[in-house]
Structures are given as C-alpha cells and as structure tokens.
Amino acid sequence: MGPTAKNCKVLVILGVLFVLLPVSGWAAPPVSIEVKTVLAATGENYLDPRLSEMARELQGLFRYTSYRLLGSDRLTLQPRQTGNVALPGNRRLQITYQGVENRRVELLLKMYKNRNSVFETSIRLNNRSSLIVGGPRYEKGYLLFNIYSAF
C-alpha cells in the first residue's frame, strides 16, 4: 500500500538514526589521521602554500625561513587499530588509536629509525586539531611531522 510503504521508509530511517546516534555517542567512532611531513630549513625563503597556516604558527616559535611539504599520508583507524606511516630517513611512525575521552582522541605514537625505537609517546589530541612532532635532522634542515586527527 503506497502511504504505508512510505511511512515504513520513514520509520526505518528513524530507527537507523536512533540506533546510530547512541552508538556514536557511546562507542568511539573511527578516526581520520593525516600526517604531513615538512622540511624546515634556513637559508632560502620558501613557504609551501599548503603549509601557510602551520608555518605562520611555527614562525612564532622557530627561525626557519623555508617550509617545504615533503609528503602527506592519511589513515582511518578504528579503536585499538594501529597504522604506520613511512617517513624520510628510513623512519617510521606507528600510530595506535586508543579511543576518545573527553572529546580528545587518544593516540599512542611510536617513532622508529632503522627499525630501532626512537621514542614512544601517549597523547590526547583535540578533535580536528593537530600535534607537531619535530627535531630530526634531514638533509639541510629538520623534519616536522604535523599529525592531525578528526572523528
């Protein structure tokens, strides 16, 4: 029957909404992570237009004159899932998504170089926000890793 069939559809949609909404409220949602690898250096003046916002922030902290985007990687992780990002200089960043608490994404970051562990850090990152990890020397500058997460 026409009208009932349409009402059925409405109810199914509502049902799905009611099932999904609590799930989204109680269980940790999947998280999207983007890691941008940047080479910061002194000497020439260069700012990659894709980094203008980040560079503006960093210029208040550091005195580098050049910010060059070397690469960008995206991951989508479920809770307790681990992903890896290959970085320059035979480095690897291992990211484990541990969950969401107080609207912050809990991540465990492990940095490796030549298969050796360099550091391990546990962080709680604001949703739709980023953390910058930097310091290793690379070519004529320093590497920065901008780690952004959103759910």
């Binding site: 029957m1 009932t4 009402n7 059925c8 409405v10 109810l11 509502l14 909404l17 009611f18 909404l21 989204s24 409220g25 949602p29 980040m54 503006r56 922030e57 960093l58 208040g60 902290l61 609207r103 912050r104 940095m111 170089k113 050796n116 562990s117 360099v118 550091f119 391990e120 850090t121 546990s122 962080i123 709680r124 990152l125 604001n126 949703n127 739709r128 926000s129 980023s130 953390l131 910058i132 990890v133 930097g134 310091g135 290793p136 759910f151």
Partner: protein, 167 residues
C-alpha cells in the same frame, strides 16, 4: 463586456449558472443575456467546461478496475483491523512520526554539535607520557592557536643508545 454594463454582474451570473437564484432574478438575467453577448459567452464557456470535467473524469473511471480496487481496499482494512494493524496505524500516523522525526533531528543536532563544537581552550594535545632514546626533548606550544609541539633531538639513538629521557 456587454452593452448593458450595469447588469453584468458575474457573481449573479454564477448563481444563475448554478441555479442558485430566485425565479425573479433568473428572469432578469435571462433578459439581460438576450442583449449581452459577453455574458452569454461566459455562461456557455462554464457550461462547456463543466461538461469537459465530467467527461474527463468519466473517461478516467472507465480505465479503473473497481473490482480490483475494492479487493485492495478490503484487504487493507482486514490487515489494519488486527491488533498489529492498529498498532502500526498509531506508529505510522503523522501525528507520531512528525514529533519523533523532530526529536531525532534535535538529537542528531545535539550529538553533532557535541562532537563538532570547537576544541576546548588549552593546548591542542596533552602529552601523557614520553619515553625514548633521545638526547633532548621539549614540549612547546604555538602562541596563537596553542598547537602542541614535541621537539626532540635523536642524536642519542645514533650513538650507543645510552641516554633515555622520560617525562
């Protein structure tokens, strides 16, 4: 309209067309119609349109299988007369569906706004722990947007790996 302007009253003409006038009014209008081609045309047009509508509906009715429609209606009534049918009727009534939909929309808005609201003030990231074979580590924060920065020096890892920093 006609040559007898003072009598071209369309509302009255409508009542004449619809046989809603008194016999005296009818007589007066008929006299007027004899002299007024515009009003005659009005009456003729609406008489024809009524016929057209009746013919259109009649043609449509001929294409309907009313036995099948009857069965459909009776079956639907049977289905609805059982208990589940009644419950479904209540559940599917727009009186219920609309408030439920509105509630769902509000709930959706609430959850969405909860998760998409701007980040709270303070650093973008809180560092719970940091361990590793690094020669130095600094936790910094950018001045405007308070982005957290971990700055480390990995020289120690290239050496003997003797140093280890722990926060």
């Amino acid at each position: 309209m006609g040559d007898d302007q003072e009598h071209c009253n369309q509302e009255m003409l409508n009542r004449y067309v619809d046989r809603e006038t008194s016999p005296e009014q009818m007589q007066r209008i008929e006299l007027h119609l004899q002299r007024c081609p515009g009003c005659r045309q009005y009456v003729k047009l609406h008489g024809e349109l009524a016929q057209r509508l009746q013919r259109e509906v009649s043609a449509s009715k001929q294409r309907v299988d009313f036995d099948e429609l009857e069965q459909r209606i009776v079956s639907a009534a049977r289905r609805r007369s059982d208990r589940w049918g009644h419950l479904r009727e209540v559940l599917f009534s727009w009186k219920l569906v609309l408030p439920v939909a509105a509630t769902a929309a509000l709930a959706l808005f609430f959850f969405t706004s909860l998760f998409q609201s701007p980040p709270p003030p303070g650093p973008s990231a809180i560092i719970n722990s940091f361990t590793g074979r690094v020669s130095s580590v600094m936790i910094l924060e950018t001045p405007q947007s308070h982005h957290t920065v971990i700055w480390y020096s990995e020289e120690a890892t290239e050496g003997n790996g003797a140093d280890s920093k722990k926060l």
